[in-house]
């Protein structure tokens, strides 16, 4: 295959390059790339004003505000508490540490619908947690934030963990010997080292929250203009057979996802550079 020979940078004695790369590209095209391109091609059948109206109507803009706002809020809380959780798991020893460490991945393993109904039951007016709160959580925007916090929880912990484990004790000792207090060492020495990984975790949690659907729709209440997330609007339009309207909103979501993907790639490169790899 001349095409693969053109791509190859260096000759290798190992066989199977053409087969493996060919299959990979074919599979990826059929399952991911061609279907995704359908969304963009579909919007090209719309006129520009029609597209603009579809993606900036009052109800859609309200859903952007909620989706982006709640995702940012959830990612921020996860960055703060994720740092504490990671610190405690890496630096301290306490009974049950291994169990807690293993359970941090629960949001990756638990189906979103299960998480959704469990959180809704807990935070409703007579739920275990909801009954102690002075304000409503289930069926309000606060509920959306709760669900997105759950979904994004492992990202910050798991991104920070390897960096914190690799952190050389010597730099902290040097800071202490030079007269820094522990708080100064943390804020001036440790935190700057952790920053790229912390931002990567934040961005990963944010990106995941933006597209989340399963856990949110149970707890949100889904009131138009108030607690309706953008992915739900896509489903609503589909159910009304408004395929172009649904696709237009989907393209906005896709563009946001691509931008975030690029940002995450850049952040990961920065993390690796900081770690000197």
């Amino acid at each position: 295959m001349p095409f693969s020979r053109a791509l190859r940078k260096r000759h290798s004695v190992l066989p199977g390059f053409d087969l493996a790369l060919g299959f990979t590209l074919l599979y990826l095209s059929f399952i991911v790339l061609v279907p995704l391109s359908a969304a963009f091609l579909k919007t090209f059948t719309m006129s520009w004003p029609a597209f603009w109206d579809a993606v900036t109507s009052e109800r859609v803009v309200a859903s952007y505000r909620l989706t982006f706002g709640a995702s940012l809020g959830a990612a921020f809380v996860n960055a703060c508490f994720g740092l504490v959780v990671c610190w405690v798991l890496v630096r301290y020893d306490f009974p049950g540490r291994r169990l807690v460490d293993a359970l941090v991945d629960l949001p990756f393993a638990l189906p979103t619908a299960v998480a959704g109904i469990a959180l809704t039951a807990l935070y409703s007016g007579n739920g275990w947690i909801g009954r102690w709160l002075p304000f409503k959580v289930s069926f309000t925007p606060a509920g959306v934030w709760v669900a997105l916090t759950f979904i994004g929880l492992p990202f910050v912990v798991r991104t920070l963990q390897p960096v914190l484990e690799d952190l050389q004790k010597e730099v902290e000792e040097a800071a202490a010997i030079l007269g820094a207090t522990r708080l100064q060492t943390f804020s001036r020495v440790i935190l700057p080292i952790l920053t790229p990984a912390l931002l990567t975790g934040f961005a990963l949690a944010f990106a995941r929250a933006l597209g989340e659907y399963g856990s949110v729709i149970f707890i949100a209440g889904n009131l138009p203009l108030i607690s309706e997330i953008t992915p739900l609007l896509i489903i609503t339009k589909l159910e009304q057979y408004d395929y172009t309207g649904a696709t237009a909103i989907a393209v906005v979501m896709l563009v946001a996802a691509f931008v975030l993907l690029l940002a995450i790639n850049a952040l990961q490169a920065w993390t690796r550079a900081r770690q000197g790899r």
Binding site: S4, A6, R8, K9, S12, L14, P15, F17, L19, L21, F23, T24, Y27, I31, A38, A39, V85, V88, Y92, F94, V100, V104, D105, L106, F108, A109, L110, P111, T112, V114, I117, A118, A121, V146, F150, P154, K169, E172, E173, A176, R182, T185, T200, G201, L204, R208, G211, Y213, G214, F218, P231, I234, I235, L238, Y243, T247, A250, M253, A257, L261
Partner: protein, 297 residues
């Protein structure tokens, strides 16, 4: 020099104190971390099982053995049984090409493999409706030939495939890159064929990471909600997977039944975490690096 200063100089603070925190700070941080995790992780997990068994074992058993629930379980198992092996083959092929060879556009290919992680599940379902739905690209042709993809099993499998494409590849690529190509090249020089090299050298080297990727892929495939929800059509007893069945029960206020089916998936999640723990220890014991979880989800 006063006696007090001399004593301080003779007994400098231990290094452990200088790079550690006071006990009360430790306790406070552990308390904050555990409090946060309890509120957002442990209590929701416990709630699933408590709510499921609230009305007794009879109601629980009835909820998971009624015909609609059984057909949802069957469909979920079938969809996973088709999509996980396909993504396993893809993951191995992609990892072989990326980890064992140098070629132009490798970083672009890596980004494309990660793409499904960034796409909203709802959008993933939507694009298959645009391609195979009645008004889609192939809608007319499929209808003429009496084939159904959307609102049927093939659509559910396609949506699941899209969502779970990266899992196996993402676990294998960093490990195989770290292992390099010396062993395979040695086998080649000694006269081994391609498949022989793969099955005798490469596969044994990555088997735990492979298993790990398959476990994660399977958990996501069985639990996927948004993408499957768009393409399934929610036909009770026909195109409902377990997560969709849970939604229907919940919206009909059959809370105990919804949580009963949910407890099965929560059990699957716990089994996944246990297997992941075991596999991670295996990989650590073999002294090999493993891709961190953030890349796999």
């Amino acid at each position: 020099m006063t006696a007090a200063t001399a004593a301080r100089l003779q007994a400098p603070r231990r290094v452990g104190d200088a790079t550690g925190e006071p006990t009360w700070v430790r306790r406070l941080l552990i308390g904050v971390a555990l409090g946060f995790l309890t509120l957002f992780l442990f209590v929701p997990l416990a709630a699933v099982f408590v709510e499921a068994l609230k009305k007794g074992l009879d109601v629980y058993w009835a909820a998971i053995t009624e015909p609609d629930a059984l057909s949802a379980i069957r469909l979920t198992l079938i969809a996973a049984a088709i999509s996980v092996p396909l993504n396993l083959v893809f993951g191995v092929a992609a990892a072989w090409a990326i980890a064992k060879f140098e070629f132009r556009g490798k970083n672009l290919l890596l980004t494309l493999i990660d793409l499904p992680f960034s796409v909203s599940p709802v959008v993933a379902g939507l694009v298959f409706v645009l391609v195979f739905g009645l008004q889609g690209w192939f809608g007319g042709w499929l209808r003429e030939h009496d084939l159904k993809i959307i609102f049927a099993l093939p659509g559910i499998v396609l949506a699941t495939l899209f969502i779970t494409v990266p899992f196996v590849a993402r676990e294998l690529i960093p490990l195989m890159q770290a292992q390099g190509t010396e062993q395979e090249e040695a086998a080649r020089v000694l006269g081994a064929g391609g498949w022989q090299i793969f099955f005798r050298i490469t596969l044994p080297n990555v088997k735990w990471a492979l298993l790990y990727g398959v476990i994660l892929c399977n958990a996501r495939a069985m639990g996927e909600f948004g993408a499957v929800s768009v393409v399934s059509g929610h036909i009770r007893g026909r195109t409902n997977t377990m997560p969709l069945h849970i939604e229907i029960l919940y919206n009909e206020y059959q809370f105990a039944a919804a949580f009963a089916v949910a407890s099965l998936l929560a059990g699957l999640a716990l089994v996944t975490l246990v297997l992941k723990y075991v596999v991670e220890r295996r990989i650590a014991a073999y002294g090999r690096p493993i891709a961190s979880m953030e890349q796999s989800s």
